[in-house]
């Protein structure tokens, strides 16, 4: 979103003392059976889960705590349990799995865990957990994906708060803006300060660790080392659970609350969500197929795989942005403000004969937009529809008004000439769901053999350098 509109919305939210809507349509799918996970790592140990609350959307959590996640055995047990749960979910879910976490920090933790676990050499259950978790984390960086959602991210796409966007990363803080307490600005400030004291990411607070958790973990470890009796060990483990379970639970509940707020907002789903879900289901099918065939996820892509992956990501990003502009009113408004969309009134539609049976469909759009990034030859799509395309022939500006002359290049038969006086919106981008398949075919052809740049065995092409000119400056002067 253009920074100007984003700033204005934050300004107004600040004034109102509550978050204001930033979307007219829901931009993410909420699957009824989705998982909600609230993992907590031990500070300084990025590849651990100390406690986790996990459940389904709208449902109660199951909470698991290991006394000390640095104990590989105990941690492996937790991973195996989680892996089992994921397996069941993957087998029973419809279309594709979906998981929600609180924030980007939690996504990063899952990403670290997935990479670490799926290469575990000793324990197949840990490996299986890592592989399944990798479905979510592998999809996470793809625009428009519907597999793994961070609540802060999703809320941030639908509402604007009256604080800085980096402060929005704290889920508790965002929730306060969505449901502020009474008491005006002072009440809000107090509630925000309180909310920020509670962890909402993937870690506990350092002072909590210092004052409460670390002594308990140390006591448990010492007792274990000294061979204390089982009931004493159980008691010490329980104490750790009593300390951590509420923290995981609170984060779990905040995540659920975010989902509930989004559902409760009654925003209609973005039309392109259906297509995005189809994409997600395709991706999941591909993932499951690869696993059945024993094709392993690599840590580092080989050049060809990397090229395909990049093509997929770029295509996804282009389609996601185009979907947003055509599917959401506020995104379209932002596009109009930044010049990526042409909004105005049709004038002077004309069907001009060009030949015995061919016509040019010409018309003008009169717009009041202050900013228009248009050039002759640019192609625009009506409401982002690929089938309805017009080319810019030219434009004139007279003060605040601009007149853009257009010629239909696609959709003449299907849509015909627009009517005079009609209000229209033409976007610079359109979704193209078929593009990636064509691109992949091209890539497969071109990359059938690894190019010489990535294969030391292949001969380098011979350069044929021309001799350097005697007087390059003279050539430049001549060219002026």
């Amino acid at each position: 979103m253009g920074s100007e509109l984003a700033t204005i919305l934050r300004l107004v939210a600040y004034e109102k003392g509550r978050a204001i809507p930033m979307a007219t349509h829901r931009q993410v799918a909420i699957r009824d059976e989705a998982l909600v996970m609230a993992p907590i790592a031990m500070a300084g140990e990025a590849t651990t889960i100390h406690a986790i609350a996990i459940g389904r959307v709208g449902g109660p959590p199951r909470i698991r705590v290991v006394p000390d996640p640095r104990d590989r055995e105990a941690l492996a047990g937790l991973f195996a349990w989680l892996g089992g749960g994921l397996e069941k979910y993957f087998e029973s879910c419809d279309g594709h799995p979906q998981a929600w976490v609180s924030s980007r920090a939690a996504v990063a933790l899952l990403d670290t865990l997935a990479e670490r676990c799926r290469y575990d050499r000793e324990r197949p259950e840990v490996r299986a957990f890592g592989e399944r978790l990798s479905y979510f984390t592998d999809r996470a960086p793809v625009s428009g994906q519907q597999a793994l959602h961070a609540a802060t991210d999703v809320l941030g796409r639908h509402w604007a708060t009256g604080q800085a966007s980096s402060e929005d990363e704290h889920l508790g803080s965002f929730l306060v803006w969505l449901d502020p307490p009474p008491g005006g600005a002072a009440g809000l400030r107090r509630a925000l300060r309180e909310a920020e004291l509670e962890p909402a990411g993937a870690n506990t607070r350092p002072d909590f660790d210092r004052e409460r958790l670390e002594p308990l973990v140390t006591a448990s470890n010492i007792a274990r080392r000294e061979g204390a009796p089982p009931d004493e060990l159980a008691e010490l483990s329980e104490a750790i659970e009593d300390a951590l379970a509420p923290v995981a639970l609170a984060i779990y509940e905040k995540t659920q609350r975010a989902i509930a707020l989004l559902r409760g907002s009654e925003l209609p789903p973005m039309p392109q969500l259906e297509e995005l879900e189809k994409r997600e289901a395709d991706a999941f099918r591909g993932f499951q197929k690869a696993r059945r065939e024993g094709r392993f996820l690599t840590l580092r892509d080989r050049p060809k795989a990397a090229a395909f992956r990049m093509a997929t990501r770029e295509d996804a990003e282009a389609n996601a942005e185009a979907s947003l502009r055509s599917g959401d009113g506020v995104a379209r408004a932002a596009a109009a403000l930044s010049g990526g969309a042409l909004e105005g009134v049709v004038r002077g539609p004309e069907k001009r004969r060009r030949g015995p049976r061919s016509f040019d469909h010409l018309f003008e759009i009169q717009s009041e937009q202050a900013v228009l990034h248009l050039r002759e030859g640019d192609r625009l799509f009506k409401d982002g529809d690929r089938r309805h395309c017009a080319e810019v022939l030219g434009f004139e500006r007279l003060g605040a008004a601009a007149t853009v002359r257009l010629k239909l290049v696609k959709g003449q038969k299907l849509f015909g000439l627009p009517a005079d006086g009609e209000e229209q919106c033409w976007l610079s981008k359109a979704t193209d769901w078929g593009r990636i398949f064509k691109e992949r075919k091209q890539y497969a052809l071109r990359l059938g053999e690894t190019p010489w740049t990535h294969d030391p065995e292949r001969p380098r092409p011979e350069g044929h350098p021309r001799p350097a000119p005697a007087d390059p400056l003279a050539l430049i002067e001549e060219a002026r």
Partner: protein, 359 residues
Amino acid sequence: MSLSERVKRLRGRMPRKAPGARGIEKAARNLGCERLQALTITGIGPRAACDAIYERRDAEGQSPFALGAGQSFERHLTRDGARVLRELYREAGRFSGAIQVLDLAERFPGRGGIAERLRTTEALVRTRRAGEPAPEILLSARLSVDIPGLDGSIEPDALVAEPDGRYRVVEIKSYADRRGKTDPARIRGACRQAAVGVHALEAILGPGAAPPIADLILRRPGSFTPTLRPMRLSAELRSIEAFFGEVKNTLERVEARIPSGASLDQRSALDALPIRYRESCKEFCALASVCRDQAEACGDPGILGDGAREVLAPVRSIDRALELLHGLGEPPRTTEEAALKKRLQSAFERYGKAVGYGV
């Protein structure tokens, strides 16, 4: 009055705490913030100021688990004659023959040994520069940093010899090395800390005394296996040099701003120092929430984000921005205000139409 005396006077009754490499690199991140500079160079520090002077318990600091992980990892690398560390460097092809390691904390232990460690480090650095034999790896080396009145010294995690006789700074962190996915903020912090070490080496032997590269040692996720990556430090060095270059100026500016006889252990004096509040402050400064609240009280649009401050630059206050948006208060006083008003209103109108309510 000497520089030291002036610094001491400004410190008042606050305890003296040298900032160390961490404190210096943090201060260098926001050179435009006089309050942060003043607290750093007087040895008070933002955390102590937050707790004792602003009385806001900043309950951050490091988790004992994180501290423990860092200490364990370092121990793992440096014990048994630094066996693991030597192997790491040998496998990286940095040394072929014997690698001599000297741990200065073993030789001169405890706080009392710091002066000796300072002297010995300097001597060894000079020796090696002169082409004479010196240990390939120095542990617990100490380098002095020139902040007047603070007698500060820093302790780089290690110094490792280069073939040309210089020593390279090594930073050891227990963060997980995930190659391209490694937390960039952490890498940046480690590089900036290393840059302080490079600066300190250059203070001993002059510019170019240390290569502008640091060895960053992280660990493989989930294990104690170390990874080694050399990092270029050009931008970080410039930032650190700018900090040191400004120390005297900062001192003068601060003395000019606060009433004579006042000291920085008083809240009124600290409040008189201009701040430069940014979104990134909370990443490294304990006073972030204090300054944020003060920025809000002044109507600074920056509390809505750095981007907002830029967009609303023509007005510089949230109240005025709202006046322009709603067409209240005084009419636009400048052409910039008039242009901003138009943009604000047209954007808000479009937004209102999109979400479907009257504006």
